[in-house]
Symmetry: C2
Subunit: 445 residues, 2 copies
């Protein structure tokens, strides 16, 4: 006797321990057949749920139609409904990502917010077996390691996929049998995206020749997912064997690493934790045959060959980007230079922009020496209107690297001095000034 | 600067340590572009080699044309040439396998014979990157574990694949540039076989959309091959942890197995060594929740739940497949029946094929009772020419299961009796016979 999809659904949920069925779940519903069936199954199984819908505003009227459709669906099931409209195209421009990546990022971020705010235990999506097979085939063709072969996970953080056990066909049949209404996403039926190429061309072609292919591939994926667990277990053993920590330095014995099998993969797994890209990993492996003193520098670490060891040290942290100056301190340092402070009673006249002389009465301690940031403004000496630093830099014709090195001195939230460039008008020496603060900036090479 | 294929070929051979380049290698050459380029590269690199060609006699004149082409090739390179003609269709019938399986089995068996007889260190085949990608994609679609994802190995036993690093395209370009002659296999250009479906349809489709796909897939395969090594390392650790041997019994603690992660894969890896099929492995896992005394029986072992243990014992060995009969023994047994022997002086006439009467003078002891095997022949009673048993069975219209149960009685390397069927002409009673050996076979139910 063939199991009904409802039975299979319930046993998949319990077998994979996806969630405690008394907990309320937030369903991500686009309005397509997959998520409509998911909703129907949650209702039939008497699970507690709410519906969330994202309108990506990519398909004009059609996007609006879908939003209304899902709203009606929530009304019909009498469950809470959450919806949002995204400027997806704006996001793609601002973050320089594809429409698909933008939609995914926006969707998961918003769903997670709703989940936390409203107290749902998990977010459920309607991914099914075909989605999974598409993902893995795509990764396989794009080039991946074993982590790219496990496909879509049934449970990942706060996201669950309770339909992964079943095929699209089955969902369609069920929708028909239960006379479920749903909407069609017109972008699904074009070959606009890589995924759709696999969905509409590659996989149907394979399945026309081998009807069991999707199920078989899903079986392969399941076994590779288990294989990945074993892979990770073995990686842990190798790391323990190879990495020694001494003070702030990780050490790896060269001979031991050289003899490690499989060398490339273990090196990749070890060094990626020190921000090594795959090509940098090859450079690190080249160190095994090089002389002492050679090194590879990643974004965060230096890996240096030292006799029979590779030594891994973190790159120096930048100086604290904020230096606090208490009253009486005569000197402080930061990455780009040092600042000397001196109380004087006679005004100091200098042509050097690295010397500033302020009215000490205006200055509040502690002073703060910090890098400038977007939004900073000040009243440039000689002006009565405030000016944004970004604007001031344009006037000064600063290059990008020059701008990046600018520090400011702050007194009670007011900028006193754009160091080495201009003091603030409010701190200038006036006729009534009695005590002065003399500042001298020395840039480091 | 682009590496030439010859340079890449040589560095691949050394990097993968395929063979010591002073050793002579036997090249499997079909006459197609791949193996023709392989031959040319071996010659250019000044490696020592010979050429072997299999004629599967599947394409009539074309097969003959290829055989002659490769023979000429060997002449041109002035290297030893070995060739063979197979009755591939006969083999498919006799072994109930596909043409592709038949061809593969015949080819590798024969190549290995030549290699051993003639003292070549390795057999080299011309498999390239596309072949590898096809194999893995096919396995992926048919359903496989991690072992099915490593693809064609650069070195496996005595077989090496020195062209795995390169794409078909590159071989074609090289053949063109070097003006190499080669033959086209007409069966390659049809979609007759699964492989050709992937070769001519699936992969070109993917590659038309993603030109880097084949290279990327080859990269994935390489990484999965390394992942498999780690997988195996972790499996070994789990086996050590779980299996205890006591006398002739393997023992596994139930609780420890239950807690193992990933359970299914580890169970599969452990129990397949005791001939468990994947579905039997599931039955074994069910034993973890069953009462004492339940068991699963595989082809070779019984796995029984005994309190907090699984006990694994070998099934009784089959009767020795060879029974030695010394002079004077009156009865012996084997799996399919028992044989009684008696010296008589009067000829025994019987219509039963289970009774045989021989000239005792011709019989040498010890007699051997054993299963028949391929290559056996005898002189059937009444015939002066010898006949292969396989042929004799066809004449007798024996089914495959019937054939499998046939025993023969042997005397000094000569078959005396095909038990229950026909005696050998050389042992028949003649006018000069004085003493006789009466044999009676009783088949067991």
């Amino acid at each position: 006797m063939q199991q009904t999809i409802l039975t299979s659904f319930k046993s998949y949920v319990s077998q994979e321990q996806l969630f405690d069925t008394s907990q309320p779940i937030l369903l991500a519903v686009s309005g397509g057949i997959d998520s409509v069936v998911l909703t129907h199954l949650f209702s039939k199984a008497d699970f507690s749920f709410a519906i969330a819908h994202c309108n990506f505003q990519l398909r004009g009227e059609e996007s609006l139609r879908d939003e209304h459709f899902v709203q009606q669906l929530a009304l019909r099931y009498q469950v809470p409904f959450y919806t949002v409209r995204f400027d997806t195209h704006d996001y793609t421009t601002a973050h320089k990502v594809s429409v698909q990546v933008a939609a995914r990022e926006l969707r998961y971020k918003w769903l997670e917010e709703i989940r936390q705010q409203q107290g749902y235990h998990f977010i459920a999506t309607a991914h099914h077996m075909q989605d999974n097979v598409e993902t893995v085939l795509m990764n396989f063709c794009k080039g991946t390691g074993i982590a790219g072969m496990h496909g879509i996970l049934p449970r990942q953080g706060h996201i669950i996929r309770p339909l992964l056990f079943t095929q699209k066909e089955v969902l369609l049949d069920y929708g028909k049998a239960e006379q479920l209404d749903y909407v069609e996403d017109s972008s699904n039926t074009t070959d606009k995206y890589t995924r759709n190429f696999f969905r509409h061309q590659v996989i149907p072609q394979i399945q026309s020749a081998f009807p069991g292919a999707v199920t078989n591939m899903a079986g392969t994926i399941h076994r590779l997912k288990e294989a990945e667990i074993l892979y990770q277990q073995a990686v842990v053993v190798h790391k323990k064997r190879l990495l020694v920590k001494k003070d702030n330095t990780w050490m790896i014995p060269v001979l031991k690493l050289q003899k490690t099998i499989p060398l490339q993969t273990i090196a990749y797994e070890i060094f990626r934790e020190f921000s090594c890209s795959p090509s940098q990993t090859e450079q690190v492996l080249a160190l095994l045959g090089s002389e002492s003193g050679r090194f590879v520098e990643t974004a965060t670490h230096r890996i240096i060959r030292n006799r029979q060891w590779l030594l891994i040290t973190a790159l120096e942290e930048e100086d604290a980007p904020v230096v606090v100056i208490e009253k009486g301190q005569s000197q402080v340092k930061c990455k780009e230079g040092q600042l000397q402070l001196r109380a004087v009673t006679l005004p100091h006249i200098s042509a050097s922009l690295n010397i500033a002389c302020l009215d000490a009465k205006q200055v509040q301690y502690p002073l703060i020496l910090r890098r400038w940031k977007q939004g900073d403004y000040f009243y440039p000496l000689g002006m009565i209107r405030k000016k944004k630093l970004s604007r001031f830099f344009i006037d000064q014709k600063l290059s990008l690297p020059q701008k990046e090195k600018v520090w400011v001195l702050e007194s009670g939230k007011r900028i006193v001095w754009v160091v080495g460039m201009r003091i603030d008008n409010r701190f200038k020496i006036t006729d009534s000034t009695k005590e002065m603060l003399l500042l001298e900036w020395t840039a480091l090479p």
